[in-house]
């Protein structure tokens, strides 16, 4: 395999890795934000219930 072919393959790997990293990073961001929102929602609901008692 020539040097050009190796460079091509290396950068192809970088390209696909970058795309996956960005997408997986975004999914992690979504999941962590969902958890935070759900936690806050539960906390507020219990606060409202406590105050109404």
């Amino acid at each position: 395999m020539s040097q050009i072919d190796l460079t091509n393959l290396r950068f192809l790997f970088f390209g696909y890795s970058a795309a996956w990293l960005i997408m997986i990073g975004f999914v992690f961001l979504l999941v962590s934000r969902s958890r935070r929102i759900d936690r806050e929602l539960r906390r507020l609901k219990s606060l409202v219930e406590d105050k109404e008692k």
């Binding site: 795309a19 960005i22 975004f26 409202v48 105050k51």
Partner: protein, 226 residues
Amino acid sequence: MPRKTVYTLGILGTLYLLYNFYQIFLVVPVDALQGNIFRIIFIHVPAAFTAFSFYGVAVVASIAFLVTKNFRWDSMAVSAVEVGTMFTLVNLATGSIWGRVEWGIWWAWDARMTSQLMCFLLYLGYLLMRPAIAEPQQRGVMSAVLAIFAAADIPIVFMAIRLHNVRTQHPGPVLETGTLAKVYYGPFFGDYLAFLLLATAMMLVRLHQESSHREIDSLRRELHAI
């Protein structure tokens, strides 16, 4: 949130993407001129198509919000913009890596690349602006106006490689001119469809988060009133 729908779309999108990767790396022939790096096109271009599809959704939702003042449209717009911006980043990153191999440079300030970067920055500005406006109605209106304004950049990105008097480093349109061989169409459009499925799943999750946000706001107001 229709959890089942999100999981179904996510799993279908991922499986289809993996099938396309099998096609890309093991079935379709290598490009005679560019070699293996050419295979980056199967992510680079479908990511841009997906981003523009979602910016289109954001524009329609923004217009609907301006007309109806229904916050569901505002939620849809911000969800679509967020997913679209992520795919624009995928497009820019893969394009830069491809350019490094083909042109020997990471970035060229030509019409196509600069207008695409502008598009990314405009929608990033949209996402950064929203938390800075506390009043929901004002936030919705300003966001909708910015989403529509930013979409004016999309035809510029599209035309940047089609105008004869614009010099560009970027190659011309491969689909209209037939320079992309038919054998590549399967994984090319397949990746676009897989990205659309995944992006729709992500947008549904964001929509649910926005509706939870509205619920949190109303609970806070309720707590304040008690």
